[in-house]
């Protein structure tokens, strides 16, 4: 392709032709709350006129054993650190497998749940219906099973406990939804969480010094292919990635492990990136040097912090980080949670 052919062209913008607008009226939802009054119903004209389904994601779906619901949607990032979320989910699965019954507790979030039963995936990890909120990592549509998709649902009946369900009540959410848009200034707190020190009895304890691929597995844990798939199925992408890399170290030509590894990396990258606001965000260090020392960081986090100059974007820092992009993003996400860094648009 020549340089000229690569130049992008900008399409004309416009609305749907008039003759299709009549057709649109017949498609208007009839259950619009009356108090909402006049709204711009044409905002989604293009979607209807084109008659298209949402575009498939670039990643080809993995040939997983799980059935995928074609209505899968991406959802928001959980409000607690992903590693804690996954760790607690795994712990809940383990406890439930031992036959312990637990009761769900009301959601500590202030967002109101909505009606409708949760999605129950056939044959695999069923989701325990609870008064829930969006906890799940943002997943690629159609390629990742949305097993943990829990929308706001006000009238969910408490179903009998499923042995493989998650124990939502044990997930401690620290105040209101912490997901901030890049345009919102972060809250500045006098005190901050100086360390991310997990409980000693947490089997999925990890340290900042570990790379993301060594976080979730403890000695003696199952590192087999079925375990990789199971972890993937329940959303433990870090654990699944770690096992995939172990399998690849044995047989680098293992196509299935390669696919799982690629998919896990993509999902995890998206998750961390969604916390950070995008590759174009500029990072600044907000903690003074003497306070930074109180954070339980390793030399890799220290190196990344040393690269931050208040001008370079995340993308530029990833180019010069000297480590994998996923590791660097994980560290930046952790530093952001620790309020050591501030993100802003260029």
């Amino acid at each position: 392709m020549s340089a000229d052919q690569r130049r992008p062209t900008h399409p004309p913008r416009g609305r749907a032709p008039l003759d299709t607008l009549d057709k649109l009226d017949s498609l208007r939802p009839s259950s619009l709350p009356p108090e909402l009054g006049e709204l711009d119903f044409s905002w989604d004209d293009d979607l209807i006129v084109q008659g298209q389904r949402p575009a498939r994601p670039v990643l080809s779906p993995l040939e997983l054993d799980l059935e995928l619901d074609e209505g899968d949607r991406p959802t928001a990032v959980p409000d607690i650190p992903m590693d804690q979320f996954v760790a607690r989910a795994m712990a809940a699965v383990d406890r439930d497998e031992q036959g312990q019954n637990r009761q769900s507790s009301p959601s500590p979030l202030d967002s109101a749940p909505t009606s409708g039963p949760p999605t129950l995936r056939q044959g695999r990890v069923p989701v325990r219906p609870v008064e829930a909120y969006e906890l799940i990592p943002r997943l690629k549509t159609t390629s990742i099973p949305d097993l943990l998709s829990l929308a706001h649902k006000p009238d969910i009946e408490k179903a009998p406990l499923d042995p493989l369900a998650l124990d939502i009540s044990e997930m401690h959410i620290n105040g209101p939804n912490r997901y901030l848009s890049p345009t919102e200034p972060p809250e500045v707190e006098a005190a901050f969480d100086t360390t991310v020190a997990p409980a000693d009895d947490d089997p999925h304890r990890h340290t900042e010094a570990d790379s993301v691929t060594t976080i979730t597995l403890s000695p003696g844990e199952d590192t087999s292919r079925p375990s990789m798939k199971d972890r993937y199925a329940i959303g433990d992408f870090s654990g699944a990635l770690e096992i995939a890399e172990i399998l690849l170290s044995v047989d680098p030509s293992d196509l299935e492990a390669q696919r799982y590894a690629t998919s896990c990396r993509d999902v995890l990258t998206q998750m961390y990136l969604s916390r950070l606001g995008g590759f174009d965000q500029v990072i600044s260090v907000v903690l003074p040097a003497e306070e930074l020392r109180w954070l339980n960081l390793d030399h890799r986090a220290g190196f990344l912090l040393s690269l931050v100059d208040g001008v370079s974007t995340i993308e530029e820092l990833l180019d010069i980080s000297g480590m994998s992009r996923l590791d660097a993003l994980r560290i930046f996400a952790t530093l952001r949670e620790q309020r050591a860094i501030l993100l802003s648009s260029r």
Binding site: R6, L36, N177, A209
Partner: protein, 608 residues
């Protein structure tokens, strides 16, 4: 009138300047810096990095980061300088197809002019962004000791970068121009140039008629600011090892931070007497803890650590004065060039040697580029009183019996020019002579550079010394050297034309130029896409931030569920378009996102 930029293509840092009215100004880069590191790197993802960003990963990605390419440009693979650089560099240097030098970065191999062209291209972009229009002409500076091949290679680098290098001028000459010398009266000046990687000292005689004669030049191509940084690094590493028994040099990330901090501390100590070096979490111990480095460096300690380096520069300067056959009190002025000359110890040492306060009116790291810009403007505006006369940079001559070098055209002769000398045979009944054309200042031929050779045959057999052979050297305005030899008795003659070569063929240069143009087109396209991408991501984030509120307001209704589902679909399609780098799709999705936001705002305002 077309603008001509002046570029100081330095060993470690480059600088670009342009005339604004009657005064030259240095153009800052996007980061606001007036100099740009002459460093090129290729990341694991295949992305090219040039300048400051390349420098910040120079250690962590050492094998794929090229620095100090100027030490290699225009040199042959067999050159001793290349061998020394090969041993000192982490990046891979290989022999090229024409006996030249090539550099391997990731899976690709580049010629040295191509690497330098990437730096020149960056300077060109800096100038174009500042001037708001394209730039095609430049004056580029080179060290005074550069031979014709090195100068040609620098011109080739400019050509590859899309620049017509209308003149190559010597760095000490450019510095002198920036100080306003060359108009009015004759002067003798010393230019003391201590840069990031090299040290050069030149003695110039400046004539009021625009001729700048380099009467002596010498230096050390492996002595510069980086060596001063190295002393600070050694001091820090040693202290840390004594305290913790850990060698920080074994960790690349630690070494990168040490280098950056050492350079910063060194620069600060030019204006303050002590500075604190604070590097938290410099190294992990493997026991779930990381160690910190914190030390105070004083100016006194720095001067002690680097005293021998400063002494070395003074010794070299003394040698240059000896070579020039001038006494100290015959020196009218001393100019300081290069960032390292900001160091108080350096200024003191030079002042003590020359017994005068050096000229400091112009920033030492900008002065060469400013002089190049002045000369560029003079050439375009045809201000003859300001134009430097083109001169031969080195002596030209032939090798004679006993490996001696016989000069025919001395250094600093203005071109065009022509000189002839009579030679004779050295053996009885000699019927052929080999003419070896050489360039250099040494009286020993093997210490000079061989430019070309030819054989004159058909000589009449006679006792040695009785055959007369006239050898003529001619240099035209384009710098092409023609050498001819003629038997005065028989009239038999032979000649060659010597043109400087960088080691690249015309086709290779053409191909590299095309690659450079393609790179620039792709870069501009990427920059335009970057703006679209940022807009899309801002809108995506805004839509996502509204989900919870919209869900609370209308999530219970079918309309709400449908609206939220469609909004999520829009966000996902936008994300995929960004990932595919599909500019058209991104623009379409930006439109959808904006409409989604208007819709959501309407929902929220009515529902609250």
């Amino acid at each position: 009138m077309e603008r001509v930029i002046g570029i100081d293509l330095g060993t470690t840092n480059s600088c670009v300047a342009v005339m604004e009215g009657d005064a030259p100004v240095v153009v800052p880069n996007r980061g606001g810096y007036k100099t740009t590191p002459s460093i090129v790197a290729v990341t694991e993802a295949g992305k090219r990095l040039v300048g400051h960003i390349a420098k910040r990963q120079a250690i962590t990605n050492a094998e794929n980061t090229v620095y100090a390419a100027k030490r290699l440009i225009g040199r042959k693979w067999t050159s001793p300088q290349v061998k020394t650089t090969l041993l000192a560099s982490a990046f891979t240097i290989v022999e090229g197809p024409h006996g030249d030098v090539r550099i391997k970065l990731r899976e690709k191999t580049f010629s040295v002019p191509e690497i330098s062209s990437m730096v020149l291209q960056e300077m060109k972009v800096i100038a174009e962004d500042y001037l708001g229009g394209p730039v095609s002409k430049a004056v580029v500076t080179v060290p005074a000791y550069f031979n014709d091949n090195q100068r040609q290679a620098t011109k080739d680098a400019g050509q590859i970068a899309g620049l017509d290098v209308i003149r190559i001028i010597n760095e000490p000459t450019a510095a002198s121009l920036a100080y306003g010398f060359g108009k009015g009266f004759d002067r003798t000046i010393v230019v003391y140039d201590l840069g990031g990687g090299t040290f050069d000292v030149s003695v110039l005689e400046i004539g009021s008629h625009g001729v700048f004669k380099v009467i002596a030049t010498t230096g050390d191509t492996f002595l510069g600011g980086e060596d001063f940084d190295g002393r600070v690094i050694d001091w820090l590493v040693k202290g840390f090892h004594e305290e913790h028994a850990i060698d920080l040099r074994q960790d690349r990330m630690a070494l990168q931070r040490l280098r950056d901090a050492s350079e910063k501390a060194k620069c600060e100590l030019s204006s303050v007497v002590e500075t604190e070096i604070n590097l938290p979490f410099i190294i992990s111990t493997g026991r779930n803890e990381a160690l910190h480095l914190q030390r105070t460096l004083t100016r006194q300690i720095l001067e002690e650590l680097t005293a021998d380096l400063v002494s070395r520069t003074i010794q070299i300067t003394q040698q240059a004065l000896l070579d020039s056959k001038l006494k100290i009190d015959e020196i009218d002025e001393t100019i300081l060039v290069g960032g390292m000359t900001r160091m108080p110890a350096v200024q003191r040492a030079v002042g003590q040697l020359i017994r005068k306060v050096p000229s400091k009116g112009v920033h030492p790291d900008e002065v060469v580029a400013l002089g190049a810009a002045i000369q560029g403007a003079a050439l375009v505006e045809e201000r003859h009183e300001m134009v430097l006369l083109d001169v031969t940079p080195h002596d030209l001559g032939i090798m004679t019996v006993g490996s001696h070098f016989e000069e025919l055209i001395p250094q600093n002769t203005t071109v065009p020019t022509s000189r002839a000398k009579i030679f004779t045979t050295s053996r009885d009944n000699q019927t052929a002579v080999k003419i070896l054309v050489m360039q250099g200042e040494s009286r020993k031929a093997d210490e000079n550079e061989l430019l070309g050779e030819f054989v004159l045959t058909g000589l009449k057999p006679a006792p040695k010394g009785q055959v007369e052979i006239e050898v003529t050297f001619a240099i035209n305005t384009d710098g092409i050297v023609s050498v001819s030899a003629k038997d005065m008795d028989t009239g038999q003659a032979q000649s060659i034309q010597v043109t400087a070569t960088s080691g690249l063929t015309t086709d290779e240069i053409r191909s590299m130029m095309q690659n450079a143009q393609d790179y620039m087109v792709e870069r501009r396209t990427d920059e335009a896409f970057e703006i679209e991408r940022q807009r899309a991501e801002t809108l995506m984030a805004e839509v996502e931030s509204m989900f919870s509120v919209v869900e609370r307001v209308v999530g219970a209704s079918d309309f709400g569920k449908d609206a939220l589902a469609k909004a999520r679909s829009v966000v996902e399609r936008a994300r995929q378009a960004v990932k595919r780098k599909d500019s058209q799709a991104v623009l379409e999705q930006i439109d959808m996102l904006e409409r989604t936001i208007r819709m959501f705002r309407g929902v929220v305002s009515r529902g609250t």
